[in-house]
Symmetry: C2
Subunit: 443 residues, 2 copies
């Protein structure tokens, strides 16, 4: 028995609960597990999701199962780690309890919060049903089904105006997700679907990328932004900068006063942190993040730590860290190791220091951007760098091989292997336009 | 202009409509397309489904996209073929119209019906919500989600009786689908999940295969049936023969008077033909099939042909052909070629002759059965024969390579790559037992 601050009320081992098995939570669990320290991981999915490739599921490039790995499988050998498939609804920091949706509670001595973020519609939650975000596999399947369905409906239509509407896709948000999604939709239309329809010409598909700010990829340097814009325009994507979206309806979008009929609108404009921190009694910023100390402890909550997208972390140069997979992963690794050391030797938690491995995004299959410090790669080399980084980061060995093979195949053939329309993601089986307002978005 | 019987009312080319792009319909479309003859294929899915491997999607061996290929992609080069994604609701043989669900009609001169079959609950349609069948990708995803969810619930439960219930899986029907599914669930529990739980032992999973008839695999010889039973029993599956299911509820099944608590029940006991032939004004047998002449023409309907599972075809020896993929595929090939010849040269349609390529089924990864005429293969060689036949039959080249690689990987590692629980297939996120009665089955 020691007098360490983390001593549990129930025994010598503190009860550690990790909420979320994304990039951050999973690293914490792995590190604790390797040291034989007991912890419970709770996630509302049974799988860890490799979110950076989610847009490729949305455009039918790869299958949902390629980027999702069962959490249990990843943590199989870490016998001290318990995995719970359940939805955390709230946290009681006074009684040190995590509440689950079905009514059960999990007590904790140390709480690690890493639930991630979700699409944020800037106060227009009604847009969620007509402009799906891209954060979950359900989102990606919804976009895939509606995208492919729009082409099917256009093929059936005899009204040229309606065909034009159905074949207009609007992506809102010019960050990496929006850029990659717009590029991928363009390649789907230009190459994959090109020969498959008899009444429509998929090459005439109109794809708009709408960004309210002055440039694409605001996290990169301006020359990269310019390059991305030109690369998208070469693929036929219309890039609209400095114009805000005013209204999104099932069949049209209003941008800077202009109404544009559309077959599908996708929301990639903003995210906000999971609302799980609402009861912690601490302030949250505009994006719903809680402020954390350099140790990743939530300021004002001694035994609660926040990692990844929900943490507002300011580095020693005063920069706010962005919501990136590599930030979350490094925080998870750092915190896991620090916690193991503290529990084993009683040392204080050291501060987290972020080391950027570079930013990358791709535009179609021949253009990419990669930026690390002063180094900028553009074009095909950046595409290769992107592919390597993403394949390397994929969790399971099987997925690395499989996703690599699929990419290679697709690269050589412009084939797409996962073009499923799931009737679950559509109101019913294909109907006329009147039904589109009923589209309901799972999640 | 000729006076051929198939002359269209609208011109010299008859309007050919094919309903269903399964094994039969797809072959007809391909053959007509290669001859440059115009035809319209209507399917309520956008994909052709390789149904013989559907059970492997249900047990998380492979991904849904591995066995589904977009119909448009398969028929891409057949420029005379129009593909329509829509649901046929009825047929008007007097006015020669096919009605679609959204209200549109397609006129035909020649109608090829190949819509396939669906699960049949022998008058107990209420069982459909609690015991999903296995005919569509949605079915397979539903079974996969509920199967994996049952283990998750058992892990959370503290009641040993409830854990036993959740870890009891009942497969009803001892044909190839039931045998393959039961074997595959057993391997999932024995190998894949073995090390992944902390509170339950997946090896203690109880799997029952219930067949009302006197033996498994009634389409094979009795010695094969005995072998299959022994092979399943070696995997720990309880095989129950000669006992009928009396009742299926969300949490238990009554078999021959005995109530057995169960975590999931799957229906593989019977199918009936699509009801699309209801308005043709001809009789249908107990399984909903319409009688066809040797030419595959529906007896009593001059311009309507029925292929595959909806056709009751009696061969020249008086045997009724079974509802198998190879029967459907051969009928499609035969009919397509015969129709091309008739349209080009005016010759009469020749009779269809079925040539069995042998029957095959597998039980786990070391046991299989293959029977062709007097030849019977059992064990590992039959497993290899099965694998070869199935890989060969897969429609697209990409899938052949990919599914082969996945199989090999799985064979070597007992890994399962597609263990996704989709929240769409569950009532909501994981809840307690009370919700199970609400499970709704997509279709």
């Amino acid at each position: 028995m020691t007098d360490a601050p983390y001593q549990s009320s129930s025994g010598s081992q503190p009860r550690i609960v990790i909420v979320g098995a994304g990039f951050a939570g999973l690293e914490v669990a792995k590190t604790l597990g390797k040291a034989g320290i007991a912890a419970t991981v709770i996630d509302r999915r049974n799988h860890h999701l490799f979110q950076p490739l989610l847009y490729q599921v949305a455009t039918a490039d790869i299958s949902a199962t390629d980027i999702a790995e069962p959490i249990r499988k990843i943590l199989k050998r870490q016998k001290s780690i318990q995995v719970i498939f359940g939805e955390v609804t709230s946290i009681d920091p006074q009684r040190k309890l995590v509440h689950l949706s079905e009514g059960s509670d999990f007590p904790y001595d140390i709480l690690v919060l890493a639930p991630g973020s979700r699409a944020s519609y800037f106060g227009h939650d009604e847009w969620a049903t007509v402009a799906p975000g891209l954060k979950t596999l359900e989102d990606a399947r919804t976009i895939r089904s509606r995208l492919l369905w729009a082409f099917e409906q256009a093929e059936r239509s005899t009204d040229p105006e309606e065909q034009r509407r159905l074949m207009t896709f609007i992506v809102i948000g010019g960050g990496p997700t929006g850029v990659e999604l717009a590029g991928s939709i363009a390649e789907l239309a230009l190459h994959t679907l090109a020969q498959e329809f008899r009444n429509i010409e998929p090459k005439k598909t109109r794809i708009m990328l709408v960004e309210a700010g002055p440039r694409l990829l605001a996290g990169f340097s301006p020359k990269v932004s310019d390059y991305a814009k030109r690369a998208l325009e070469r693929l036929g994507v219309e890039v609209s900068l400095g114009k805000a979206v005013e209204k999104i309806m099932a069949d049209h979008v209003v941008i800077a006063g202009e109404s544009i009929p559309a077959g599908l609108t996708v929301w990639a404009a903003g995210v906000s942190a999971s609302p799980l921190t609402a009861n912690l009694g601490v302030g949250r910023d505009r994006m719903g993040r809680v402020e954390v100390a350099p140790t990743l402890q939530v300021i004002g909550c001694p035994d609660v730590y926040a990692l990844g997208d929900i943490a507002r972390f300011t580095d020693d140069k005063g920069n706010l860290l962005p919501g990136l997979a590599q930030v979350a992963k490094q925080q998870g690794q750092h915190f896991g190791e620090a916690l193991v050391k503290k529990l084993q030797t009683g040392t204080e938690l050291p501060p987290f220091v972020y080391r950027s491995r570079g930013n990358t995004a791709i535009i179609g299959r021949h253009a990419g951007v990669f930026e690390a410090g002063e180094t900028t790669l553009k074009g095909w080399f950046a595409w290769v760098a992107w592919a390597f980084i993403h394949v390397y980061l994929l969790v399971g060995f099987q997925h690395r091989v499989q996703v690599s093979l699929q990419w290679l195949w697709r690269y050589l053939t412009y084939d797409r292997g996962a073009r499923l329309i799931s009737s679950e993601q559509l109101p019913q089986l294909p109907h006329g336009r009147a039904d589109r307002a009923d589209l309901s978005r799972p999640e």
